[in-house]
């Protein structure tokens, strides 16, 4: 079968890495008959010569020491990273850190509001029997701040997995639906800042059930505190904070 120009070029291309090319019989016959391919081959000879000239052009050299210094600097950095990685401290993931930071901010703000409110509210309300009952925190209930501090300590020192498990445990806690009514003294009508009365179903043991309607507290401060306490009542149902 006779070879065409494309086949000839293809055969030449296949032999790029063999010098000189070893032509097949078909290629030799085609070359003898085809002036275009002879011109093309002559052009390739010029190209070969041009490439040889081009290869002879001097290329500047680069300092080995410069490269060596850069490599050693990188290796020094890597050894520092490895040394740091040897420390058995597991850092929480970024998402977990964000959640933890948000939670801490919320709890801190809530605690400040509670403290502020306790300084602000009138003596008669504090001294009212029902509220006094609310203040009687059972011995076996840990303060909220201690619990949050413990959780935060877990987040900081424990593994990310352990902290995630803690959060998941909170998610699985049952929703609080009981409505506890606390009977309190009616606040003075002229003061908008005094908390509204809170109704209690079982005044003898107000801590046994949780208050779910914290938002009934007096506005504006009471509303804020109520919202914060409602949040805490949801996530920590067994450790509701005192109302004062």
């Amino acid at each position: 079968m006779a070879m065409n120009c494309t086949d000839f070029e293809q055969e030449w291309s296949e032999q790029l890495d063999s010098t000189p090319p070893e032509w097949s019989a078909a290629a030799t016959v085609h070359l003898a008959d085809c002036a275009d391919c002879r011109r093309w081959l002559a052009l390739q000879s010029v190209m070969d010569r041009a490439i040889e000239d081009w290869k002879q052009q001097p290329i500047p050299s680069i300092s080995t020491d410069r490269i060596l210094a850069a490599i050693l600097a990188v290796q020094a950095d890597q050894s520092v990273v490895v040394a740091r990685a040897d420390v058995p401290v597991s850092r929480p993931s970024r998402a977990l850190s964000t959640i933890s930071a948000s939670l801490m901010t919320t709890v801190t703000a809530m605690t400040l509001l509670i403290v502020g409110w306790s300084f602000w509210q009138p003596d008669e309300l504090v001294k009212s029997p029902s509220v006094a009952e609310l203040e009687a925190v059972p011995e076996d209930v840990a303060p909220v701040t201690a619990t949050v501090a413990e959780f935060w300590q877990d987040v900081r020192t424990g593994s990310a997995h352990a902290a995630q498990r803690t959060v998941q445990t909170w998610d699985q806690l049952p929703t609080i639906t009981q409505r506890v009514r606390v009977t309190a003294n009616t606040p003075p009508a002229e003061s908008n800042a005094v908390p509204a009365p809170i109704e209690v179903d079982s005044p003898s043991s107000p801590r046994t059930e949780l208050i779910s309607e914290w938002s009934n507290l007096t506005r504006p401060l009471g509303q804020k505190v109520g919202t914060a306490l409602q949040f805490l009542g949801t996530v920590l149902p067994s450790e509701a904070p005192p109302a004062s």
Binding site: W40, L41, L43
Partner: protein, 184 residues
């Protein structure tokens, strides 16, 4: 000459002499490729340095069953591509980076004409051409370095030569019969 895998093991053990041997073995190839691709000495030096630091950072990923040379050249090729892409985003005046073209601008010979023709090639073809003709890598080594079949390497080399030859003809360096015109 130390075997590749032995050399790498010694480099991984932070033996300075082994690291120096590694650099000595490949710096000519790497810098030559960078210089031909980037045509500017400072850029070529920077990219050569980047190539070696990157190679040492990832030296544990090198597989002993593969040849070390194409692995290093692959890193160099990628660094060149990155630098060229950055140049496109931050265009400079040609005088800032053409060290090669100005070496003999007054009387351009065949080599200078070829250098100009080389500039017009697409990156893959140019890398292929420089690795094969300047660095004298085999088709197989180029195939490994550029991560493409050997057939593709041959096709790229053929197209590169063809395009450059056409340019030499257009510029009057070579006539239609394929003979060099002596213009000097």
């Amino acid at each position: 000459m130390i075997d590749d895998s032995v050399l790498v093991q010694r480099c991984l053990a932070n033996e300075v002499e082994a690291i120096r041997t590694f650099v000595d073995r490949f710096q000519g190839l790497v810098f030559g490729l960078c210089f031909r691709m980037l045509q500017q000495r400072e850029d070529a030096e920077d990219v050569t340095q980047e190539t070696f630091t990157r190679a040492f950072r990832h030296l544990r990923q090198w597989q002993p069953e593969r040849s070390l040379k194409p692995w290093v050249m692959a890193i160099a090729a990628n660094r060149c591509r990155t630098r060229l892409a950055r140049r496109l985003r931050q265009p400079q005046s040609s005088g800032d980076w053409q060290d090669v073209a100005t070496t003999n601008a007054t009387s351009p010979g065949l080599a200078e004409e070829l250098e100009k023709a080389l500039e017009s090639l697409r990156e893959d073809h140019r890398l292929c051409f420089v690795m094969f003709y300047q660095q004298e890598l085999s088709i197989q080594e180029i195939s490994e370095a550029l991560d493409c079949p050997t057939g593709t390497v041959k096709t790229w080399l053929h197209r590169a030569r063809k395009q450059m030859a056409e340019q030499l003809q257009e510029r009057g360096v070579v006539n239609r019969d394929g003979y060099e015109l002596h213009r000097f």
